[in-house]
Subunit: 331 residues, 2 copies
């Protein structure tokens, strides 16, 4: 096994977030499932945008957000995704490249526009996403470069990729290449409805194909058909080398074959927008792993990154997470 060129390579949907405030009444009137990632088509995207208040645009996408956090801690890596050859695609490519990432993103011509997620943030800081996948639906195995995957110590794959057959094939290929090269494969379950949509396949992925699993409490319960978190944790134990379960403001739980570690949440002045909390938790955790830190420290970095991102609007860190981590250690 050669020394890896990259610490982490992620594969995911390349999305630009369009973020605005909204009321709970608005979500209800538009039949938006609160807190979820709602998949939408183009007419629905047009409709929701016409109903949305003044917004701001920030590059997003779950795995891409994780890479933004990972590089903010000082990590290096690569990203695979698909944008269209348009202004939003340019913005996404710019933002990923500006992070210092190696980007493999061949813009789509003469197809759908770059993916957009219309995110409504309610007064309780919860985010409800409405994602038009656009050019991301053309993301396929052909977009995965084996040599990059094989040259990464870890790959990070989002469950969302299972929502389109071609993207699922890309997932399978990345995972296969990584394992063949002796690398670690990490999966995030993404969203509770995504777990519902791909239940049998996700169960199989977790059991046979995942070294490091990220999920929130609802997702892991959904996966094991239980309303009891302890039962879900008992069920998942030993299936993956490491399982990290985030539990919102209660912190997170790290589960290995023989250990269960409770991780406290990091303090936050005011929760403004929970978008990207899970993505940033994974960023901190994976950065810790890349530095061979203890699981306790990995979890603490995850909490730290999550607490930073929920303190402002948008799914990616505004502060330098490496500096924040130094401050936290000094405190």
């Amino acid at each position: 096994m050669t020394h890896p060129r990259f610490q982490l390579t992620a594969v995911g949907n390349a999305i630009v977030d369009v973020i605005a405030h909204a009321t709970d009444e608005f979500l209800a009137s538009e039949n938006i499932i609160k807190g979820a990632m709602n998949l939408i088509d183009q007419p629905r995207a047009k409709h929701l945008y016409s109903k949305m208040g003044p917004a701001r645009e920030v590059s997003g996408g779950s795995a891409a957000n994780t890479m933004a956090g990972f590089t903010s801690f000082g990590g290096n890596g690569a990203f695979f995704g698909k944008v269209a050859k348009d202004q939003l695609g340019e913005i996404f490519i710019h933002d990923m490249t500006a992070l210092g990432l190696h980007l493999e993103c061949n813009p789509l011509e003469n197809g759908p526009e770059t993916a957009r997620s219309f995110i409504f943030v309610t007064p309780d800081a919860q985010r409800s996403m409405n994602t038009f996948l656009g050019a991301s639906v053309e993301f396929s195995e052909d977009d995965i470069k084996d040599s990059i995957i094989a040259a990464s110590a870890m790959v990070y794959l989002e469950g969302y990729l299972f929502d389109k057959p071609q993207a699922k094939a890309a997932y399978r290929k990345a995972s296969k290449v990584a394992h063949a090269a002796g690398r670690k494969v990490s999966l995030t379950l993404s969203d509770v409805f995504c777990v519902k949509r791909h239940h049998a396949e996700f169960l199989e992925l977790v059991k046979n194909d995942t070294d490091i699993l990220f999920a929130n409490d609802d997702e892991i319960k959904e996966l094991f058909n239980t309303t009891d978190l302890d039962a879900a944790i008992a069920a998942v134990r030993g299936q993956c080398e490491i399982v990290a379960v985030t539990c919102g403001h209660k912190g997170s739980i790290i589960v290995t074959a023989d250990k269960t570690i409770q991780i406290a949440p990091a303090p936050v002045d005011k929760v403004v927008d929970t978008t990207g909390a899970g993505d940033q938790y994974a960023a901190g955790f994976l950065y810790g792993l890349s530095q061979s830190m203890t699981l306790e420290k990995c979890g603490a970095l995850g909490s730290l990154a999550a607490s930073e991102v929920i303190g402002h609007i948008g799914p990616r860190p505004e502060a330098n997470l490496s500096d924040l981590a130094k401050l936290a250690i000094a405190a």
Copy 2:
């Protein structure tokens, strides 16, 4: 004079801001004049973007930002500007329409892209703008609809329009139509270098064509060729019905023929990004005027709006300014 349909109509460059943090060393190495609006061409825009860190996009443009603040206070109005038929143009149009504004903005086809301002925010929260005018250079008299101008109690025009001959003609037309209809004309001097570029014309505008003038201390000193603020204030007194001079963290000064009113700044926890401070001051001030408030109250609303916008990244209010104003009165 018929009862006006709109309280305020603004005319200005339609710009999408691209905002990122940068160091003072970066500004120096790129020859960016700190705190100023630097006009750039397309190759320079491409170069600066390639050097810029991860960014976020928000609709901007000085007069357009003022309209965002004005509607946030509860005002109504219209806006004239020019975007291209592209994704950034769509974003600009969306954001203005979502404010409830009547928008007259015929997107340009087969020309330059929608204007972008690359804004670098340094650690001292100062913003340095680098504006590629793009489609805005095609903004002309033909884009001004007389009936809307004539139906507005006040028009608000940005000095930046003088940077392009066609836009200057649009300014002149809007001002002429407004005065012919017995409406008030308001001008912002925009930027100290803009004052330098159009010195003689701005002097003439202020003297003969402006009812309500907005300027910061540097701009008004530049206009009257003095380093002494009191001398500049003495020189401008009586030239316009109302002059409002903003002085950064020192607050503002309102000058009429026979009065000079000092306005205190509103408190702010932490100054994050000064982009839009002047624009929002004008928004609060003009909203006060639209409600026939005293000049003291107009100034206080200006301070309030400015303090909100410098507390976060981006040139437009994130909070509801009407609610903030109610809280401020209750306090």
